[in-house]
Structures are given as structure tokens and as C-alpha cells.
């Protein structure tokens, strides 16, 4: 993503560490069964997402639209169709019980949490930085790291190529026709050249990389160096406090009574 935006403190956190912390948080969230606790933690994460990614409010709101969808749809499925004892409402196949309602909200908030964590990460981390950091801190093999970076470089090229195939089709006289058969034909006409072209290009890039003396050893120098700083401590601290305070608050001041 090449959108100009202010670089906040979130950008200065070591990318591997950031990924690791957020992963741990995701796994922790899998084990949170208490709705109040879940809401508190989610709020803490949303705070970071909304205020500190350095992107404009407009963009943030735009990006949040699919979130809300996920929140609603995930919750609703469970609310309408979940198991439960205390019946609140019944209509045809739909039965809303207290348990299913609470569970639905819980699942919804969890989805929201995951989404916010993920976006916070991808909005504040350049992939190239992440892979450099993974090579340095996690000892990821350069073979994988550089392949990923090369592949990510190919994304805009693929998009461009998609555009170009469209243009090429236009030149060759191919834009007309609707209906299932023509859609099938179009999908085939786009996907096969795109995929086979990408594979050939990938292969050629691999050859070019080897021609530039790339070897899969770890004793190489790095253009970007990543270490740890006080921002990293602050980042970890924030989440520890969030987990503890969230827990405390959920017991002392529950928002929803269960």
C-alpha cells in the first residue's frame, strides 16, 4: 500500500515483534469466553486502530465498512440459529435464546478484534520491512523472504497486466457478450494468461536473482537493519495492561449482565 500518511509510533515497532504480539493476542482471544472481557479488549484494540495508524479518518472509516459487515453477519448467524435454553423469540427456523444472543455477540466481537488487529498491522507495516525483520529476528531463510518480497512486487505488475490484458482484448475485439457462457469464457480468457504469465515471470525473476549471486545463506548483510527500542516495550506493555485492566473492569463494571 503506497498511501502517503503520517508515520506514527506504530511504524517504529519492530515488525516481527508486532506480528508476534498480535498473533499471541489472537490466540488469547480464542480462549476468552466472557463477553464483557471480550468487549473491553476489543475496545482497547479499536482505540489503537482508530487513532494511531496515521491514516486519514476517511480511509479508516472506509476500511471499517467490511468489518461492520463481518461483525453483524457473524453475530446474526449465531443469534438466529444458535442453541440455548432461555427462549426469547421464535419464528420459523429462527430461534433466539439468551445464550445464543450472548454467544453471537461474543463471536462478533472476536471477529471485530481479529479484523482490527490485522488491519492495524498491515496499515502500519511495509512488507519489505517485515521480511527483513523476519530474516534478522526470526531467522527466516532468505530464500523465502526474498521470494515473498519479489512476489509482492509482482502484485502491482499483475494488476497492470490485468489492465493490459483488458486493453489487449479491446484491441483484438473482445468486450461484447453477456450471459453465463460468455462469463465463463471471460474468466478463462483472463485467468489463464494471467496465471501462466505470472508463473513464467516468477521463474525468470528467480533466474535473475540467482544471476545476481543470490544464495540461500544467512551470512549476508542487510540494507535495512531492525532492532528493538523503547517503542517495543511500550507496545507490549500496552497489551499487558489492556488484558489485565480489561479483566478487572469486566468483573467490577460489567457492561452486560450474564
Amino acid at each position: 500500500m503506497t498511501v502517503t500518511n503520517a508515520e506514527t509510533w506504530l511504524y517504529k515497532i519492530n515488525p516481527s515483534l508486532k506480528l508476534f504480539v498480535l498473533m499471541v493476542l489472537c490466540i488469547v482471544a480464542l480462549f476468552i469466553d466472557d463477553l464483557n472481557y471480550m468487549i473491553n479488549v476489543t475496545m482497547g484494540v479499536l482505540l489503537i486502530f482508530l487513532c494511531f495508524t496515521g491514516h486519514s479518518i476517511k480511509r479508516i472509516i472506509l476500511l471499517s465498512i467490511p468489518f461492520s459487515f463481518i461483525f453483524i453477519s457473524t453475530s446474526l448467524a449465531m443469534i438466529f440459529f444458535g442453541k440455548g435454553e432461555t427462549l426469547w423469540f421464535e419464528w420459523g427456523l429462527i430461534s433466539i435464546t439468551e445464550e445464543s444472543f450472548m454467544r453471537g455477540l461474543l463471536v462478533g466481537f472476536r471477529a471485530l478484534l481479529f479484523a482490527a488487529l490485522g488491519l492495524t498491522f498491515s496499515l502500519t507495516t511495509r512488507p519489505v520491512n517485515l521480511f527483513y525483520s523476519l530474516m534478522q529476528q526470526v531467522k527466516l531463510k532468505p530464500k523465502y523472504a526474498y521470494s515473498f518480497m519479489a512476489a509482492l512486487r509482482l502484485i502491482p505488475i499483475m494488476m497492470q497486466e490485468f489492465q493490459t490484458i483488458r486493453n489487449a482484448m479491446k484491441v483484438r475485439g473482445f468486450e461484447r457478450g453477456t450471459g453465463v457462457k460468455s462469463i465463463y469464457f471471460k474468466i478463462k480468457a483472463y485467468s489463464i494468461p494471467l496465471l501462466s504469465g505470472s508463473i513464467r515471470r516468477a521463474h525468470r525473476i528467480a533466474v535473475a536473482m540467482e544471476a545476481k549471486r543470490f544464495t540461500d545463506t544467512r551470512d549476508r548483510t542487510y540494507y535495512y537493519d531492525f532492532g528493538f527500542s523503547k517503542y517495543d516495550q511500550g507496545f507490549i506493555l500496552y497489551f499487558i495492561i489492556l488484558l489485565l485492566a480489561g479483566f478487572f473492569l469486566s468483573i467490577q463494571f460489567p457492561l452486560v449482565s450474564i
Binding site: 503506497t2 519479489a150 497486466e161 475485439g173 504469465g197 525473476i205 536473482m209 540467482e210
Partner: protein, 493 residues
């Protein structure tokens, strides 16, 4: 002289192909030699270069055997296609990648990157520039810069200047002369004007990939002129000879009542930035317009704007109708992309050419006839069953032209259609275009080749920094019958 590269009795064959590309080829190179490999398009020069460097079979698995294969240990390779040799998103990171591979300390990197970029004359505003926004020629410079960063003993150069403007080509060879002084350099190049000062030995190949001559530059150039001519290899003075032996081309555009193209205050945008601006331009049928200008000036962008591939503003009328209201602009014009690979949509060479005709549901027999005649004109008969990506660079280029012009259109736009072409194929293409032009088709062509502007163009547009700064008519227009666009059944011989 110490031999640092040599192959003996090399045999090689691409999987699934019928015949071998090399059969018992032997060649060797001494330390410090500067050698030019010359041969018709598709004879196997690029492939041989890959074998000599060891890329085949170490990185690309192709069946091959030989009695002796000796590859150098320190080498750099500039590939023919500038687009797919980068693995990082930004220019500085790409060179840094090379430096990392060599374990250059981080502190020294910035300076070295700047040095190498400067060395190849790539003056970017900031070194941290996205590679995707560079023009074709700029990318080729970057490719050379990253190879120089390897500080190699042997340089393999596969048409390193194919996409550069004349000024850039000259500079590049001067640069290579400078940096290559103490290196062994093996070059493949079709445009030989500037290379000749640089090299001291020439190897000539024929269509079958056999060596027909190998020796000092001057001997080869003076003794093998006929062989070179016969095989369609560029040699100094080809153009003069061509012009002498062919009646001067008639340069007579038509006069139309309504201009074919009419634009005013016309701009083309890339990422919302104005990249080309044309104040006024009128194009009539039967013109042959050459667009020239430096790398990155906006030539391709101008063609894209005319094709409506990108966002444009201002007035633009095609045959009197505003372009927005022309239902199917591509019914009237066709386009050959700068990078041929970008336009391939079919799985075989044959189907690639037949593609437009099939969409039109033309009868099979007609398709067959047309495709065959084009395969012949563009010398692709032997390769009709291959996948377009398996062709050599020049063959790809020819295929992209053939596929775009298979249907008769009033307007043909071509983006550097002759780069990487041997002389035989270049003249075949130009002659073919001239036949069409003389029947009223308009040709708009981006090219760096001044010979084409001089001998074929009726009009020359010069683009600089996104503006059309000059518009010269080469001859007075208006001496032929107006608008005869009926070009059915043009024979191409």
C-alpha cells in the same frame, strides 16, 4: 591468452522440440576479450549466452551435454527483458539486494547505490523510487546499474540498449567501454552502430545456430559482408544499401474531408498526474507518423491516450465523432504494445494471430489463409505451435505485430515495433506497413531509429517531458486520391 569460458561439442535441445538448437557447437573466449555475437533473430544467441554463464543448466533446467563446459566464476548478466529481472519494489532496494548478496557492509551501501545509479546516468529525484513508475529505458539502465554493482569479471549483455534512445545508447556504450575495460565482455546486439568501437572480435551465426565466421572485427566486417546480408544481420551501411536498391518510397499522404484524428488541448493521465499534453494535432489517412523523444518523455503514454487506455481530457475526435461516442474505437484502430508479452492471450503462436478472426467468427479457411500468410511474412512458420512466451525476443515482437494487424484497420499504432529485430525482419515489416499506408492506412509509430524517420515517415512528432514540442511534415501533403480505405485483400509480398 588464458581461456576463461569455453564449450566444446555443445548439444542442446528444448524439451518437446523436434530439433536441437545447438549441435556440436564449440567456442571459447579468452580473458579480457570483447566479443560480439551476431546472428539473425531466433538463432539462439540469448540461449547461448545463458549456457556460457551457466544459467543453463544451473538455474534453468534444459537438456544439454558437451565435452567441456567451462563457465566463469564472477560474472554479471543483463537480460533482454528489462521488466522481469527485478525482485524488489524500489530502485535503491534492487541494487541493495545485489550488495547484500556480496555481503557489503550496510554503511557503504547508500553511497555505492548512488554511485552505480549515477554511473548509468539514471538520475532519479530520490534513490528510493518505485521501479514501476520508470519508463522502459529507465528500467534498462537500472538493470545495468545492478549488474555493475556485482563488480563482475565477465559481463554478459543481451541487447542492453534495445530500449534506449540514441543518446542513451551512445552513452551506455561509452559507459560500458569505461567500466568494461579490464573485463571480459560478451555482447549480443542487433543495433551495432556504437558497439563496434567497443568490441574486438565478432562471431557470426546462421539461422541454424551454427557459427559461420569467427575472428577479428575488421576481418569479419570486410570479408563476410555477403553472408551478413544473406542472413539479415545488420552491418554498417545496410540502410544506405537498402535505400539505394529500393526505389525511394513515395511519401504522399491523402487529403481527407474529415481528419481521421483530431485532438485539441488533449492530456493523458497516469495516476492522476498529467504525463502527456498535446495542444493540437490532426491526422489524416495515409500518413506515417513517427513519434520520437527521450526515454520517459511520454511516447508510450501518448499512444495509450490515443487508444483510450488511460484517462484523458480535452477534445478527441475519431473521424469526426467524439471518441466517447464512438461505439467501438478498436474497430478502427489497432495497437502494438511496447512490451510484446503484455498482449499475448492465446496458447500458441498460430492461435495468437487467429484470435481476432475467431472472435469475428470468420470462416476457418479464411482464418487459415490469413494466419499462414502472416506467419510467412513475419517468418514464424517454424514456430507456429509454440507458446508465445517460448519465442525469442525478436520473434515475440514480430508475433505481437502480426497479431495486432491481422484485421484491416484504418489506423495502426505501434510502440517500438522494430526493437531487437534483425535487418531482414525490420525491412519486411517496414515494407509491409508501407504497402498498407499507400492504400490509405495511417501508421503512427514510436521508434528510436532515425533511419525510419528519414526514409519512411511523412511526419515526425517530437515529444519531450510530456509535451509534443515539434511537429514536422516531411513532405507536402495532398497529392493522391482522397480516402481509399478499401484495403481488403492486400497481398503482403
Amino acid at each position: 591468452m588464458e581461456q576463461i569460458i569455453s564449450v566444446e561439442k555443445l548439444r542442446m535441445k528444448f524439451p518437446g522440440e523436434e530439433s536441437m538448437i545447438f549441435k556440436d557447437l564449440s567456442i571459447s573466449f579468452g580473458k579480457g576479450e570483447k566479443v560480439l555475437l551476431l546472428g539473425p533473430s531466433g538463432c539462439g544467441k540469448s540461449t547461448l549466452l545463458q549456457v556460457l554463464s551457466g544459467l543453463i543448466p544451473n538455474s534453468i533446467e534444459v537438456p544439454l551435454k558437451g565435452e567441456k563446459l567451462k563457465c566463469p566464476s564472477s560474472w554479471g548478466y543483463v537480460f533482454q527483458d528489462p521488466d522481469s529481472q527485478f525482485c524488489m519494489p524500489f530502485a535503491d532496494e534492487e541494487i541493495a539486494f545485489v550488495l547484500e548478496n556480496l555481503s557489503v557492509p550496510k554503511q557503504e551501501m547508500k553511497e555505492k547505490i548512488q554511485h552505480h545509479l549515477h554511473q548509468v546516468g539514471l538520475n532519479l529525484g530520490a534513490i528510493h523510487t518505485s521501479i514501476d513508475t520508470l519508463s522502459g529505458g529507465m528500467k534498462q539502465r537500472l538493470a545495468i546499474a545492478s549488474v555493475l554493482a556485482l563488480e563482475p569479471e565477465v559481463l554478459f549483455l543481451d541487447e542492453p540498449t534495445a530500449m534506449l534512445d540514441p543518446e542513451g545508447t551512445k552513452e551506455m556504450w561509452e559507459l560500458l567501454k569505461e567500466v568494461g575495460r579490464d573485463k571480459t565482455v560478451i555482447v549480443v546486439e542487433h543495433k551495432i552502430d556504437h558497439v563496434l568501437e567497443f568490441i574486438d572480435r565478432i562471431v557470426l551465426f546462421n539461422d541454424e545456430g551454427q557459427i559461420i565466421a569467427d575472428g577479428p572485427k575488421d576481418t569479419i566486417l570486410s570479408r563476410y559482408k555477403n553472408e551478413m546480408k544473406e542472413h539479415g544481420i545488420w552491418f554498417p551501411g545496410v540502410w544506405d544499401e537498402y535505400v539505394k536498391n529500393h526505389a525511394p518510397v513515395r511519401k504522399q499522404p491523402f487529403t481527407d474531408d474529415v481528419p481521421l484524428i483530431q485532438v485539441q488541448d488533449f492530456s493523458g493521465f497516469r495516476n492522476k498526474e498529467e504525463k502527456i499534453k498535446v495542444n493540437e494535432l490532426q491526422v489524416t489517412s495515409g500518413e506515417w507518423i513517427v513519434i520520437r523523444g527521450e526515454n520517459g518523455a511520454g511516447k508510450s503514454t501518448l499512444l495509450h491516450a490515443l487508444m483510450q487506455f488511460i484517462k484523458t481530457s480535452g477534445t478527441y475526435a475519431l473521424m469526426g465523432t467524439p471518441i466517447k461516442r464512438v461505439e467501438n474505437p478498436t474497430e478502427h484502430m489497432t495497437f502494438v504494445f511496447q512490451n510484446p508479452e503484455f498482449q499475448f492471450v492465446a496458447n500458441t503462436v498460430y492461435e495468437e494471430i487467429a484470435y481476432s478472426l475467431r472472435i469475428d467468427k470468420r470462416p476457418q479457411q479464411e482464418i487459415n489463409e490469413r494466419v499462414r500468410s502472416l506467419l510467412k511474412v513475419f517468418r514464424l512458420e517454424a514456430h507456429w505451435g509454440k507458446h508465445p512466451f517460448q519465442l525469442s525476443m525478436g520473434q515475440k515482437r514480430r508475433l505481437s505485430v502480426a497479431a495486432s494487424i491481422v484485421k484491416d484497420k484504418k489506423l495502426i499504432l505501434l510502440d517500438e515495433p522494430t526493437f531487437g529485430q534483425d535487418s531482414k525482419n525490420t525491412f519486411a515489416l517496414l515494407k509491409w506497413l508501407e504497402v498498407y499506408r499507400s492504400r490509405g492506412v495511417t501508421v503512427i509509430m514510436v521508434t528510436h531509429d532515425d533511419h525510419i524517420s528519414k526514409n519512411f515517415a511523412t511526419r515526425i512528432l517530437t515529444v519531450q517531458d510530456g509535451n509534443v514540442i515539434r511537429d514536422e511534415k516531411v513532405i507536402q501533403p495532398g497529392c493522391m486520391e482522397p480516402k481509399f480505405l478499401n484495403i481488403k485483400g492486400v497481398s503482403c509480398r
